[in-house]
């Protein structure tokens, strides 16, 4: 197991180095003048020159690369043009709410997707399978920004069931102020025992989480269906039937766990995909996460922020894949020995 971990870590670091290189290319190989966008459209030539040297653009290319890498490593990720704050600080405040949202969405996706896939597999070829597959394909094909608007209209506007803006009821800031520790409302509220905010936060989490869950739920359902059907054809299932186990136990106690293997392997990918989906969804829900930060950065052509977001999401993706690999290896004994 240790050797496996070391190998994976080294591979991960290699990819990270490549990611840094690519983001540098994106950041620097920009048609147009970063100094101009920093200094603003009415800058004088002196201000432009000051901006240029402040951004390090007057140095040679190799020096810029070195500056960039050492900057990243030492925590200087540049300064955001639209917030005027260090990008790293921005990321620190904006990332946790999105992580909370994506995790909630993924949990929901598994809760919906796995049973949906099982139903499709068990009743393969019949009506439940038909509907299950349509729902799964719809989930995977859904434009999330459109779904967000639709759910807002339905559950907030028409039915008045669920809130749509912000992470919790702002009125609670006066009555039950929330102490910020992790910057994730649900976690902070739970830790500090602030049940009023906890309830409101969970309520506000529902709609955005459902929107984020649509794609992964559909994907998981399809994968579980396929994987389960494949597993059911294997010899060890025949053996278990020959031992006298009823069919429902064959599915749930003996086929499901090996069938979930491929599902676990895509969780990292799904996490990263969902994180980028927040770019399209957070603004609609007034969610103060990295998604709305990225959307704002795009609107204002804030290159340092955009690159910072790209970098942190890519790094998170590499980390997520690493964690998934480790989890898989601990669950499936065959992988460790490879």
């Amino acid at each position: 197991m240790a050797r496996f971990l070391i190998r994976r870590t080294l591979l991960g670091l290699l990819v990270v180095a490549g990611v840094l290189a690519l983001t540098f290319l994106i950041a620097r190989v920009v048609p147009g003048d970063p100094a101009a966008s920093w200094a603003g459209p009415h800058a004088s030539p002196q201000q432009l020159a000051k901006a240029r040297s402040a951004l390090g653009l007057d140095k040679s290319a190799p020096a810029q690369i070195v500056d960039y890498f050492s900057g990243i490593v030492s925590g200087d990720w540049g300064t955001s043009i639209h917030t005027r704050r260090p990008v790293l600080d921005d990321l620190g405040t904006r990332l946790p709410p999105s992580i909370q949202l994506v995790v909630a969405g993924l949990i929901l996706a598994l809760v919906i997707g796995i049973p949906l896939g099982i139903v499709s597999a068990v009743w393969r070829g019949r009506l439940p399978d038909f509907f299950g597959r349509i729902v799964a394909v719809a989930g995977v094909s859904m434009p999330v920004f459109w779904l967000a608007l639709l759910l807002q209209l339905l559950f907030f506007q028409r039915l008045h069931l669920l809130p749509v803006a912000g992470q919790y009821d702002p009125g609670l800031d006066d009555t039950n102020p929330l102490t910020t520790i992790t910057n994730m409302t649900v976690v902070d509220a739970a830790i500090t025992g602030n049940f009023a905010v906890l309830g409101s936060a969970l309520e506000h989490l529902v709609l955005p989480a459902v929107v984020i869950a649509a794609y992964p739920a559909g994907l998981v359902a399809r994968m579980v269906r396929g994987s389960l059907l494949e597993t059911m054809g294997e010899t060890h299932i025949r053996m278990v039937r020959a031992l006298g186990f009823p069919e429902w136990q064959v599915y749930l106690r003996f086929a499901l766990k090996p069938a979930l293997n491929p599902v676990i392997s895509i969780l990292g990918l799904v996490f990263a995909y969902s994180l980028t989906n927040t770019f399209l969804v957070e603004a609609i829900f007034n969610w103060p996460g990295i998604g709305s930060y990225a959307a704002d950065s795009v609107q204002s052509l804030d290159t340092p922020s955009i690159v910072g977001v790209a970098l942190v999401v890519a790094l998170l993706y590499v980390a997520a894949n690493f964690i998934v690999d480790v989890v898989q290896a601990s669950l499936d004994p065959r992988i460790r020995l490879r």
């Binding site: 060890h236 025949r238 053996m239 020959a242 031992l243 006298g244 090996p258 669950l331 020995l337």
Partner: protein
């Protein structure tokens, strides 16, 4: 224990895949079922356990276990017989075990499913392993950590632990090396003698069948073409097909004993 098969036919839609006129198996007896690949041998094995309905097959005729008719028996009753009275081992031993469950866990689940208490189950599992010459730490392993021969013996041990009276062995040695084959056959022979286990041994390998079987039944394209005492069938085959099979056996001098 007495297994009697009469006028059995198993069909997939229009196509009849297995046709057995008569087949008898009692305690302590080994019945060898011979035939080439695709001759319906495995389908017969599954039909005895009532597992062919799953695959969409229709079964007609009679399969009686101690006088009880298995064809058409309701699922709940069949499930009590599966594993507990009739056990089955498969051709690829390692892939016959669930890859993410430890061997011991599978033993426990199967035994508890058939009503054995937890403590008894553990004791039975250990005892069964001893009878197939496997060390008790095998129970802690995963299937892929076992060799083919070990896995096959573990599968047989499961049948022992469940106190099955009839063992259906579907090509149990075909995927194993010759030396390992001999070990597995030896284990089966011991069980036949000591536990009076009835064995339905399915194989395409006449030499192996000749070594172990008391009675031999020859299947050709699913059709029962010859049956009788093993020695008689091999030395004086009546049917042309049997004669072909016997003739194609590699003779190393004294192959039949």
């Amino acid at each position: 224990m007495k297994l009697e098969v009469r006028d059995l036919s198993v069909a997939f839609g229009e196509q009849t895949v297995v046709r057995i006129e008569a087949l008898d198996l009692s305690d302590g007896e080994v019945l060898g079922l011979a035939g080439e690949s695709g001759s319906g041998k495995s389908t017969l094995a599954l039909a005895i356990l009532g597992l062919t309905g799953q695959m969409g097959a229709t079964v007609a005729g009679s399969i009686q276990l101690d006088g009880r008719e298995l064809v058409g028996m309701p699922e709940q009753e069949l499930r009590i017989i599966r594993g507990r009275r009739i056990a089955m081992v498969f051709q690829s031993p390692v892939s016959a075990f669930n890859p993410v469950i430890r061997i011991g866990d599978l033993f426990l689940r199967a035994l508890r499913h058939h009503g054995v208490e937890r403590a008894d189950a553990r004791e039975r599992a250990n005892q069964a392993l001893r009878e197939v010459f496997l060390p008790p730490e095998m129970l802690a392993r995963y299937p892929h950590q076992l060799s083919g021969g070990q896995a096959q013996r573990a599968a047989i041990a499961l049948a022992i632990a469940l106190r099955s009276e009839l063992l259906i062995a579907d090509e149990p040695t075909s995927a194993l090396d010759v030396t390992v084959q001999a070990e597995v056959i030896e284990v089966i022979r011991r069980l036949q003698v000591q536990e009076r286990l009835g064995v339905l041994f399915i194989s395409h390998d006449l030499a192996v069948l000749g070594e172990l079987s008391d009675t031999l039944v020859v299947l050709r394209a699913g059709e029962q073409v010859e049956s009788g005492p093993a020695a008689q069938v091999l030395e004086a085959p009546q049917h042309a097909y049997t004669r072909e099979l016997v003739a194609s056996m590699p003779k190393l001098g004294g192959a039949l004993s």
